[in-house]
C-alpha cells in the first residue's frame, strides 16, 4: 500500500525523468562520452530553451482546459480557436496597420465574446459541450483560413519586431533572470512561512520544518538551474513568465476562491451543486470565458513562436491540452485535478514531442508514441487511484 502511494505520488516525475534519460542516451551519447566533435543536442541550452517555450505554449492552454474539465465539460475548439485568434492579430498588424497591442487586445476581445457565447449555448440550451465545441473547432478553423486567405501572414509590419512577435521569442537579458528568481523564491518562502503560521494559530498539526525547507530547496535549485541553462542560450524566455503568471492565477482561482470550489463541486456532483445554491450556469460560462482568454494568449504565443500565421498553426493542439490535463491526473468526468499535475502533464507531453522531433522520427511514430503515453498515463492513474 505504501509502495503504491509512493508510486502514485512520484509517477509523473519518474515518467518525466525516464523521458529525459531516454532522449539523452539516444541523442547525446557521444557528447556524454566526450567523443571529439560531439556536442549536446537534446540537453543543449538551445534546445532546452526551445523546449521551455513549447512547454509554456501547451501549458497555458492546458491550464484553461483544466478549469473546463474540472466542471466535467470539455473544449475541443481551442486548437483551431487559438490559430484563428493568432491569425486575426496577424492580419490586423501586417495588413490593417494596427499596432501590435491594439491588435492583440482586439483579438482577445473576440476570443472572450466567442467563448462566452459557447458557454452560454452549453448551459442555457443544454447542449453537451462536446458538441458545441466540436462545432466551434470546425467553424473557427474555417473562419481562420478565410481570415488569413489560406496564405502565410507575417506578424511583423515592416520587418520590425513588435509585442506580438516578441511574446514567444523575447528572452530576458542575463541578470534580470537571476533577479526574478531571487524575488520569486523570497515570496515563496514568505508564503510557506505564512501558511505554517496560520496552521499553528489554528492549533493544527504542522509538518516538521524540514518538509517546507525541502520544498523551498527544490524550488531554488530548479529556479537557478533554469536561469543558468537559459542564460547559456539567450536568457529566460518571456513565454515562461507568461505561463508562470497564468499558473499562479489558475492556482489562486481554483484553490482560494469560491469560484474554484464551485468548479470542483460542479464536476463532483452537479445536482448537489445546484441545491447548494451555486449558480452553476454562471460558473461554467465563467470557466469558458477564462478558456477564451487562455486560448487567445496561446494563439499569440504559438503564432509568435512560428513567426507567421498559417493554416497549420494550432492544429490538434486541443488534444495536447486535454492530454496534458489527463496525464496530470485530472478526471475527465470532473471534480478532481491539480494545477501541478497539469503542469507536469504538459511538460511530459512537450518533452516527448521535442525529443521525437530531434531524433527525428517519422510522423507516424510521433502519433503512436503520443497516443501510447496518454493511454499509459490514464491506465496507471486508474490502477493506482483505486482504493
Amino acid at each position: 500500500m505504501k509502495a503504491r502511494a509512493l508510486l502514485k505520488n512520484f509517477a509523473m516525475p519518474l515518467a518525466l525523468l525516464a523521458i529525459f534519460v531516454f532522449f539523452t542516451l539516444w541523442l547525446d551519447r557521444d557528447a556524454l562520452l566526450r567523443r571529439p566533435g560531439a556536442s549536446f543536442v537534446f540537453l543543449s541550452p538551445r534546445n532546452l530553451s526551445h523546449l521551455l517555450v513549447e512547454f509554456s505554449n501547451t501549458a497555458v492552454l492546458a491550464l484553461g482546459m483544466f478549469m473546463i474539465i474540472l466542471t466535467g465539460n470539455i473544449d475541443l475548439s481551442v486548437g483551431s480557436g487559438a490559430g484563428m485568434i493568432g491569425g486575426i492579430g496577424a492580419v490586423l498588424v501586417s495588413q490593417q496597420g494596427w499596432s501590435a497591442p491594439a491588435a492583440m487586445l482586439a483579438g482577445l476581445g473576440v476570443a472572450l465574446v466567442l467563448w462566452f457565447l459557447m458557454g452560454a449555448l452549453i448551459v442555457k440550451q443544454r447542449i453537451p459541450s462536446f458538441i458545441i465545441t466540436l462545432g466551434g473547432m470546425q467553424i473557427f478553423k474555417g473562419v481562420f483560413w478565410r481570415v488569413i486567405n489560406n496564405s502565410t501572414i507575417d506578424i511583423r509590419s515592416g520587418g520590425r519586431d513588435n509585442l506580438f512577435s516578441d511574446i514567444a521569442t523575447y528572452s530576458l537579458p542575463a541578470g534580470r533572470g537571476e533577479f526574478l528568481c531571487v524575488a520569486a523564491l523570497a515570496i515563496y518562502a514568505w508564503i510557506l512561512w505564512r501558511a505554517r503560521r496560520a496552521r499553528v494559530a489554528l492549533g493544527l498539526a504542522v509538518e516538521p520544518p524540514r518538509n517546507p525547507g525541502l520544498k523551498w530547496g527544490v524550488a531554488a535549485l530548479a529556479g537557478f538551474g533554469l536561469v543558468a541553462v537559459c542564460n547559456n542560450f539567450k536568457g529566460l524566455p518571456a513565454a515562461l513568465l507568461i505561463l508562470a503568471a497564468t499558473a499562479i492565477v489558475v492556482y489562486f482561482l481554483t484553490q482560494h476562491t469560491p469560484f474554484g470550489r464551485y468548479l470542483y463541486a460542479i464536476g463532483g456532483n452537479e445536482e448537489a451543486a445546484v441545491l447548494s445554491g451555486i449558480n452553476v450556469d454562471r460558473v461554467i460560462i465563467g470557466a469558458f470565458v477564462f478558456m477564451g482568454a487562455t486560448a487567445g494568449l496561446t494563439g499569440y504565443m504559438i503564432t509568435s513562436y512560428q513567426g507567421t500565421s498559417s493554416t497549420t498553426v494550432g492544429g490538434l493542439m486541443e488534444l495536447d491540452a486535454i492530454a496534458a490535463c489527463v496525464i496530470g491526473g485530472t478526471a475527465l468526468k470532473g471534480g478532481r485535478g491539480t494545477v501541478w499535475g497539469v503542469l507536469f502533464g504538459a511538460l511530459i507531453m512537450t518533452s516527448l514531442l521535442n525529443g521525437m522531433t530531434l531524433i527525428p522520427v517519422e510522423e507516424w511514430v510521433n502519433y503512436v508514441a503520443r497516443g501510447t503515453v496518454l493511454v499509459l498515463a490514464v491506465w496507471l492513474d486508474v490502477r493506482l487511484g483505486r482504493d
Binding site: A198, T257, P258, A265, A272, L275, G277
Partner: protein, 449 residues
C-alpha cells in the same frame, strides 16, 4: 466466512452468485431502459445459437412473475414501474438465480406500507421454501415482523444476537444506541415568540406544474409556517411532498398560480441561491445525489453554501475563518470521522446526513426544510436529528419536516398537513393526531374518517 460449512473466499460477485448468494441493495441494480424480462435475465438471457431466445425468455419471465403474484407483463420497460415493483423485480431476479441465501439491504427504504406488506409476504413464502434471508433494516417493526433471529451491529462490531421471540423493541434499541432511550421522539415545544412577528413562510393557493405547459401537479396548496414551529408533511409516495419542498426552494417545477411569502416578502421566482440568501434552506432526502460532493472532504461540503461569508475582497477565501466555522459544525453535530478533512463519501449514512444538515444550517437560515431527514440512518443518529430540530425551534427557526414514517411525523410535528395526489388532504393540530385520521387524509378520505 463459511457457506454451508465450506470456507468461502469470493473474488467477485460471480463467485458469490455461484455459491447461491444474492444481494439486493438500497440502490436499484436494474436497467431502466430495458424490459422487465430483460432485466430478470440480464447477463444470462436464454439463447438459441448466437441469438437471444426472446420467446423462451418472455415465457419464463411470465411464469416467474406469476409465481410472485405480480400482474406485470414481461415486456414492460422497467422505467414505467413504481419503486415497490422494481424492488420485487430484483427479488424475482435473485430467486431465478437459484439463490439459497438472499441478502436484503434496506429493501423497504423507498416502499409504501402496502408494498412493504407484499414484500414481507413473499419473503415468508421464500423462507417456507427453505431460502435463508439476511434482512438489513433500520425499521424495527419490519425486523420484528419477519425475523427469526436479530443480530445488532454498532460501529462495525457485533453487539448481540437475539431470538426474535425473546427480543423487545426497547431492548434492541438499547443495544443499537448503547444506552437506554426513554423517549423515541423527544419533541420540545419551540419558541414561537422568538422569531419575528408574522408567519415565517406563507403559501397561498399554490399551483405548480412539472414543466411549462403541463397540467398542475401540486394544486391549491395553502399553509402558514410560524417561527419556532415544526410543520409536518405526510402523504403516500408520489403525493408531492418532495416536489413541494423542491419548488419552494426553487429547484423544481413551473409555478402556475398562487403566492409564496418568505418573511412577509414575496418569493416569486425562487432559485436555490436566492432562497439560501433569504434564509430558506433544504436538506434533501437523497443525500448522495442531491446533498454531497462525495469525492470531497467533509469541510468542503459543510461550507459549500456559505463560502461568500469567508471571502475577503470578494475573492479570496479566508481559509482560517472557514476552518474554524467548519470545525464548529463538525463538533457540534458530532460527525463521527477522524477530522473535517475526511472524504464525505467514506462516512456512514447518519454522518453524511449530519454533514448535509450542517451545510444547510451554516447559512444561518430562518426556515429549514427537512426532507426525510432520518431515512436510512440508525436510531442514535435519528435521536440527534430530533434534538437538532428541537434546538432549531428553540432558537426561533421554523422547520418543515417531511417523513414517510407516521410515528416520527406525529412525534416531532406541532402540526401536520397530509398531501394527497398533489393537493391538501387534511390539516391537523397536535391534539388531533391519530394514525387512522392521518392515513385517511393521505388516501384522500379526510371527511369519511
Amino acid at each position: 466466512m463459511r457457506v454451508d460449512g465450506q470456507v468461502a473466499a469470493f473474488h467477485g460477485i460471480r463467485d458469490a452468485e455461484t455459491a447461491g448468494i444474492a444481494v439486493i441493495t438500497q440502490e436499484f441494480a436494474l436497467v431502466d431502459e430495458l424490459s422487465v424480462a430483460e432485466n430478470i435475465f440480464l447477463g444470462r438471457a436464454p439463447r438459441r445459437g448466437l441469438c437471444v431466445d426472446w420467446l423462451a425468455m418472455h415465457q419464463r419471465a411470465a411464469a416467474l412473475l406469476q409465481d410472485f403474484g405480480l400482474a406485470i407483463p414481461p415486456e414492460t420497460p422497467v422505467r414505467a414501474l413504481g419503486i415497490g415493483q422494481k424492488q420485487l423485480i430484483e427479488i424475482v431476479r435473485a430467486m431465478d438465480k437459484k439463490s439459497r441465501i438472499l441478502v436484503l439491504d434496506e429493501p423497504t427504504a423507498a416502499l409504501t406500507e402496502q408494498e412493504v406488506e407484499v414484500l414481507l409476504t413473499h419473503l415468508r413464502r421464500l423462507r417456507a421454501q427453505g431460502t435463508t434471508c439476511i434482512y438489513i433494516s433500520h425499521k424495527l417493526d419490519e425486523v420484528f415482523a419477519i425475523a427469526d433471529r436479530i443480530t445488532i451491529l454498532r460501529d462495525g462490531s457485533t453487539i448481540a444476537t437475539l431470538a426474535a421471540k425473546e427480543a423487545t423493541i426497547p431492548l434492541v434499541i438499547k443495544h443499537m444506541v448503547g444506552r437506554e432511550i426513554t423517549d423515541l421522539f423527544p419533541r420540545k415545544a419551540g419558541r414561537t415568540e422568538a422569531g419575528p412577528a408574522g408567519a415565517a413562510l406563507t403559501v397561498r393557493q399554490l399551483d405548480v406544474a412539472r414543466a411549462k405547459g403541463q397540467p398542475p401537479f401540486l394544486r391549491g396548496i395553502s399553509f402558514e409556517l410560524r417561527a419556532g414551529e415544526v410543520l409536518g408533511f405526510g402523504g403516500l409516495m408520489g403525493a408531492g411532498r418532495t416536489e413541494l419542498l423542491m419548488h419552494l426552494f426553487g429547484a423544481w417545477g413551473h409555478r402556475i398560480g398562487g403566492e409564496v411569502l418568505l418573511g412577509g416578502q414575496p418569493h416569486a421566482h425562487p432559485t436555490p441561491g436566492a432562497s439560501i440568501r433569504r434564509g430558506l434552506v433544504l436538506a434533501s432526502e437523497d443525500r448522495r445525489r442531491y446533498g454531497l460532493v462525495i469525492a470531497q472532504t467533509i469541510g468542503f461540503n459543510l461550507s459549500l453554501s456559505s463560502l461568500k461569508e469567508f471571502t475577503r475582497f470578494g475573492w479570496k477565501i479566508d481559509a482560517a475563518a472557514e476552518h474554524v466555522r467548519n470545525q464548529h459544525f463538525f463538533t457540534s453535530l458530532r460527525v463521527k470521522a477522524p477530522s473535517q478533512h475526511t472524504r464525505a463519501g467514506a462516512l456512514s449514512g447518519g454522518n453524511q446526513q449530519k454533514v448535509v444538515l450542517g451545510k444547510a444550517l451554516m447559512t444561518g437560515p430562518s426556515v429549514v426544510m427537512l426532507d426525510e431527514p432520518t431515512r436510512g440512518i440508525d436510531v442514535g443518529a435519528k435521536l440527534e436529528v430530533y434534538e437538532l430540530i428541537n434546538r432549531l425551534t428553540a432558537e426561533g427557526e421554523a422547520v418543515i419536516l417531511v417523513s414517510s414514517e407516521l410515528p416520527e411525523l406525529m412525534g416531532m410535528s406541532d402540526r401536520i398537513i397530509m398531501l394527497h395526489e398533489g393537493a391538501m388532504g387534511g390539516e391537523f393540530d397536535r391534539a388531533a393526531f391519530s394514525q387512522e385520521k392521518l392515513l385517511a387524509a393521505a388516501m384522500g378520505q379526510a371527511h369519511a374518517a
